[in-house]
């Protein structure tokens, strides 16, 4: 039983890391219908910026706070200059464009930070383990679950309970009508894109103490994040959240109880889900 609970906690941790990347990916798709292959690059960028901030200031908290900033800025510029002209041109062109950016980002990161692996240490307060009954959990992992849940809550509140959120929802549902109602859709799109990649950058910085900081982490997070988004339902925040938890748990429990099949499990699950619920598992069916 202890073993199962431990593995469920582990599954939640990996689910939260996934959520931090998938949330933005899903929103960007939902609002702009853009497939952002470069999303993982912002995850990587956030980890590296966080690393530098921590080396410079010595503060993990400063690193978390500042890590999303360059991504926000770059994201806004990227959306304005490159992605906007492509909205009408379909997914293929977006894929090629953002795929091009993954190359540029990786090379820029190598140039700035070198190609070695670095690690980020956690602040003393989060160092060490907690014993809950017979279960051993590193404190930082509990913190990570907390960050994921907090972010989910904040995003949910913003989208469901604020005026800004209402505008985003209106634009997701029907952009032309939203525009007609006086919503500045282009501005909204830039903001959501920047915020989405900013969250991914935050995800990179938060995940760094566990998975390290290295070039290649961009691609490693990208495919699982896409799986989450399609399983959960593209464009839906709650879909991204439950999709992340679902994939995190399925992957972790699969590795633990079916180690021989763990490589196959997530993909089989994805095929089954897409065939039975192509819109995603966690999306309320709309008429």
């Amino acid at each position: 039983m202890h073993f199962l609970i431990t593995q469920v906690l582990n599954g939640l941790v990996s689910g939260m890391i996934l959520f931090l990347t998938a949330a933005g990916l899903s929103l960007i798709f939902g609002l702009m219908n853009v497939v952002n292959v470069a999303h993982g690059s912002f995850f990587m960028l956030g980890a590296f910026v966080g690393l530098s901030v921590q080396q410079f200031t010595g503060s993990f908290w400063a690193a978390l706070l500042l890590a999303p900033l360059p991504a926000l800025l770059l994201g806004a510029v990227m959306e304005r200059v490159f992605i906007r002209p492509l909205y009408r041109r379909g997914h293929l062109d977006q894929v090629l464009l953002t795929f091009g950016f993954t190359f540029v980002f990786v090379d820029a990161v190598r140039w700035l930070w070198g190609s070695g692996i670095s690690s980020v240490s956690v602040p003393p307060v989060l160092d060490g383990i907690v014993r809950l009954g017979g279960i051993v959990v590193p404190k930082y992992r509990l913190f990570l679950i907390f960050v994921g849940l907090l972010l989910a809550l904040v995003l949910w509140l913003v989208i469901e309970r604020t005026r800004l959120g209402a505008m985003v929802r209106a634009s997701v549902d029907d952009a032309p009508t939203a525009e007609g109602m006086g919503i500045n859709v282009p501005l909204l799109q830039s903001s959501v894109f920047a915020a989405g990649v900013g969250i991914a950058a935050l995800g990179g910085a938060v995940a760094a103490p566990i998975i390290g900081v290295y070039t290649g982490m961009d691609i490693e997070i990208l495919i699982p994040a896409f799986i989450v988004v399609v399983i959960g339902g593209m464009g839906s925040l709650s879909g991204a959240f439950f999709g992340s938890v679902f994939v995190g748990l399925a992957d972790t429990l699969g590795r633990s109880y079916l180690p021989g099949l763990s490589l196959f499990l997530v993909y089989v699950v994805m095929i089954v889900v897409l065939l039975t619920r192509p819109a995603g598992l966690f999306v309320a069916r709309r008429s």
């Binding site: 798709f29 497939v35 490159f82 002209p85 492509l86 041109r89 997914h91 293929l92 062109d93 894929v95 090629l96 464009l97 795929f99 091009g100 950016f101 993954t102 190359f103 540029v104 980002f105 990786v106 090379d107 820029a108 190598r110 140039w111 691609i219 495919i223 896409f226 799986i227 399609v230 593209m234 021989g260 490589l263 196959f264 993909y267 089989v268 994805m270 095929i271 897409l274 065939l275 192509p278």
Partner: protein, 307 residues
């Protein structure tokens, strides 16, 4: 005049070994093989409107068939090539039958998932595939008395296959069947209303694409004499999508040109500079922004020809 352009291009290509060194011939051969691979995917992307992101599976399966059958069982490379194409075609029927039930991004992800399953199987089945270390030691077969070990012979084999593929795909696209594919791409609902069994045609297109990818993969196995799981990696599926868009989706020759540009950039530019990734990325970005129809699409536009 323009009628003869393809013939002139083919003739020029056929003469290339006379001026190129051994290394250049090898590089060109690789370009020709990937040209077939990219053209096969374009049948899906450019003509039927199916964005497949798992095309490496059909390429890799066939390449594995050629190498493993020869190395483990001593099967002649030609038989292996035939077996590889059959295997890829059959697998395409299976994957196609399942994945055409969904469309758009879901289709992309389902095809990716199938390819990843094949990749994982190759990774796990080490006794046969050699896993990440791969499998080498292929004994190449002979063609008209000359071994495929000879770079020039290998080149002409790939060249002949490319010419045959271009011819076959041109015929296909020009035939009524091609019009049905394009009709499905433009407006599937309309085709359905006209009484076409849309799903059957989609499956047919997927199967044909799988067969040509199998041809390319089998040639690659013969050419390389070695195969590893890297050939099944999702990044190969990504690469070939890029080749198609770069050259121009929805044209026959475009993807072939895209393949050549892509490979030359990857192989040659990476020898010049450590920052080849930056350059490649910048070229992709520039292409999307400036040449929305792809390189060949732009050429066609300038010369005023339709595809």
């Amino acid at each position: 005049m323009t009628r003869f352009a393809p013939l002139a291009a083919a003739a020029l290509l056929a003469l290339a070994p006379a001026v190129l060194g051994n290394y250049g011939i090898g590089l060109l051969t690789e370009c020709l093989i990937f040209a077939i691979f990219a053209m096969s995917l374009d049948l899906l992307i450019g003509y039927t409107g199916l964005l497949s992101f798992g095309h490496a599976a059909f390429f890799g399966l066939s390449a594995y068939a050629v190498v493993t059958l020869n190395v483990h069982l001593g099967v002649n490379g030609w038989l292996g090539l035939g077996a590889g194409i059959v295997l890829s075609t059959m697998f395409a029927v299976l994957v196609g039958a399942v994945s055409i039930r969904v469309s758009g991004i879901a289709f992309l992800m389902v095809t990716l998932a199938f390819a990843q399953l094949v990749f994982s199987a190759a990774l796990k089945w080490r006794d046969v595939t050699g896993g990440t270390d791969g499998l080498g030691g292929l004994v190449r077969p002979r063609l008209f008395g000359s071994s495929l070990d000879n770079r020039v012979t290998m080149f002409y084999l790939a060249f002949a296959c490319l010419v045959a593929s271009v011819w076959a795909l041109r015929r296909l696209v020009a035939a009524p069947l091609g019009s049905v594919f394009i009709g499905i791409k433009e407006n599937a609902a309309r085709m359905h209303a006209l009484g076409y069994k849309v799903q059957r045609f989609r499956l047919l297109s997927f199967t044909i694409a799988g067969a040509f990818a199998g041809l390319a993969g089998g040639l690659y196995g013969l050419f390389n004499g070695y195969i590893s799981t890297d050939a099944l990696n999702w990044s190969v599926s990504g690469d070939v999508v890029i080749m198609v868009i770069l050259g121009g989706a929805g044209t026959i020759v475009g993807p072939a040109i895209g393949a050549a540009i892509f490979l030359v950039m990857k192989d040659v530019v990476s020898s010049w500079t450590d920052h080849w990734m930056f350059l490649i990325g910048a070229v992709f970005i520039a292409c999307v922004m400036v040449l929305p129809q792809g390189v060949w699409g732009a050429v066609l536009q300038v010369t005023g020809r339709r595809r």
